[in-house]
Symmetry: C2
Subunit: 210 residues, 2 copies
């Protein structure tokens, strides 16, 4: 049976009120490229997609979400029916308690917004996963902070971590480094997100070997 | 000489750090519809556009901006060379002081974000305008709060205010009410943003009569 892929992509939007929101910058391109590559390989693919305008392959199943909480619920609900999760979405880490209506502009003075950490989707999904499932996550860090990406890999217990720098955002290109829990590291050249999607899937499918 | 139009559209994005931002929900559709209608009427048109994926008429001049401060600067710089400003952008009212890099997620506890009011573009542009120029603004309010739209019209000293409800966001349709400083009010039917763009331009060009 071919591997069944679950891929998240895009940002999430966390409402401040009915008009305003907080988001991470994310074009959704990396996740869309992985989904395209997976479908080209004939792998059954489900995408969970935040609010982005990116073009997606029309084949495959698509679930649209807006907030981090909605993405969390969708991933935990869908993963049991899939073998491999590739978490390419840029999920908001912090979310305000939304206010109904529209906050009024004040003529002067600051406004204070209290933000609370969102649920850690990768950590939660890993804590529920079966031994025959694998997870891949992305770690977006300031240039060169591989150690933080490695820490996240260990803390979240993912099977493969993709480090990429903040320069990746809004770019058609990526300069990734792959990190495995056994300490292997693979520094890859600058490439298009489309080309990297194929390379990533190759390494991700090998996680099921042996 | 035909009227020269300056139209703003879309949201602005206010950076929290290199990754996160605050924005108003806005598709840019209303401003794009007004620009299309203006160009169809043969009016020279400049668009100042926040970060949106909306399709724009390729004719006309286009200036891309990201933040409220950039839109403020662009509008004040461009308006002297135009006759009519139609301010359809959903400019952020509040902006954080951005942090370089990426704020770290904390395992627990809230994060506090200090937000400061952005400059009021409409108010500032009106205070610099010539007697032969006119301004149109939009007021997005909770259903039915016409009084607040009227207050904004008087405070900002615009020549025509378009009230619309929060339901307008992300919608291809609008249920607008037009308000003039002399007290006239025109409640319009639910219509497509394209149809309303033509009606709005008709009323806006009449501001130059007499």
């Amino acid at each position: 049976m071919p591997l069944r892929l679950l891929i998240t992509a895009g940002p999430t939007h966390e409402p401040i009120d009915d008009v305003r929101y907080i988001a991470n910058r994310s074009s959704g391109r990396m996740g869309a490229a992985v989904a395209s590559a997976a479908m080209a390989m004939g792998l059954p693919t489900t995408m969970i997609l935040g609010p982005v305008g990116v073009d997606l392959p029309s084949a495959g199943r698509r679930i649209d979400v807006v907030t981090a909480a909605q993405m969390h619920a969708a991933v935990l609900r869908e993963f049991p029916n899939h073998d491999l999760l590739i978490m390419a979405a840029a999920v908001a880490d912090f979310s305000p308690v939304p206010v109904a209506g529209k906050l009024k502009r004040r003529e002067s003075g600051a406004m204070t917004l209290e933000l609370f950490p969102t649920a850690d989707i990768v950590k939660d999904v890993v804590s529920h996963k079966r031994d025959d499932q694998r997870t891949v996550a992305f770690s977006l860090e300031k240039g060169g902070d591989l150690e933080r990406a490695a820490q996240k890999m260990r803390y979240k217990k993912v099977d493969l971590m993709v480090y990429n720098s903040i320069a990746t955002i809004d770019s058609p290109r990526i300069v990734p480094t792959l990190l495995w829990p056994d300490g292997r590291t693979l520094v890859l050249d600058d490439s298009s997100k489309g080309d990297f999607a194929g390379v990533l899937l190759e390494h991700a499918t090998r996680l099921f070997d042996g």
